[in-house]
Chain length 159, copies 2
Amino acid sequence: MIDTPDEAPFPSLSEADALPPSEQHAQQYAAVRNAHETELLEDYVELIGDLIVHQGEARSADIALRMGVSQATVSKMVGRLKSLGLVASKPYRSLFLTEEGETMARMSRERHAIVLQFLRALGVSDDTARIDAEGMEHHVSQETLDAMQRFSRQRGIPD
Amino acid sequence: MIDTPDEAPFPSLSEADALPPSEQHAQQYAAVRNAHETELLEDYVELIGDLIVHQGEARSADIALRMGVSQATVSKMVGRLKSLGLVASKPYRSLFLTEEGETMARMSRERHAIVLQFLRALGVSDDTARIDAEGMEHHVSQETLDAMQRFSRQRGIPD
DNA sequence: CAATACAGTTAGCCTTTGCTAAGTTATTTA
DNA sequence: TAAATAACTTAGCAAAGGCTAACTGTATTG
Ligand SMILES: [Mn+2]
Ligand SMILES: [Mn+2]
Ligand SMILES: [Mn+2]
Ligand SMILES: [Mn+2]
């Protein structure tokens, strides 16, 4: 049997980091699963809000086009958004955000903008920054957002 | 009908950013959907590799504990990993990574480490950095990884 | 104003990712 | 070594998020 000392004589530089305690580890994954539950809702309400601002109204066909999914998929998702009280609409008519939907949209938009600006300030190209921000935004805590904002303000491109 | 000028006389400072062209916008969301398809696979192989290194073997019960899911969920996922050729095992025995699994685990682990180190270098606390890195890692392009690594090396905590 | 085109919905299918409950195999210990 | 415990698997269920095909309603326009 190979001799396994209780404590290494000195820590090797190439030694891999130890695993975190399992409860903490589990919490990491739980936070990710949690984010996944609201991600799409956030992107939908954000997009609906943006369409209302930029095009005057939010129509399912536009959402489908911009999301890159079928209209049927949008229709089903809109049903879910309505049942969650985030969106209001009459059959065959365009979409509106409820108060709650507006709030979620505003928060998502702000968070999205912070992440995007941060990536640009880091030196990432615009196209890549947009792609990465679309996914990263949902996995960024307030603490990290604050750090990003500090960084952007300090050495970022103005505006 | 309301008069809509072809071009605004001058850009307002508080004007919201225009929406990206719809094809580009759709590509952003497509990239996120794409990342979601491999995310869990990456976390599983990474964890299996880590367990083998740190505990000598990877057992389903450990994975379930660390992932924070039921053993049944792990069992089903392991079936998928095997069918994808990432994992090998005999019924009721512990798990091994195939060559392909090792490769995916190594890449995931490296990417994960870059993101984690970067967040710490940005000034984010360890606990938060771990949580955010677990989700962000799957949505970070090579270009962004490079930028993160540059930043960490330049003003990061050494090691 | 009728025909057509466009927009929205519904039905039915699939995959992924989770769960619980019940069974099977392996390991530990009395 | 038999019983008990722990580990693993299987079956069956559900929700989320995709799809296509078929249908219904709205808007345009000849
Ligand atoms: Mn967004
Ligand atoms: Mn997004
Ligand atoms: Mn990881
Ligand atoms: Mn992860």
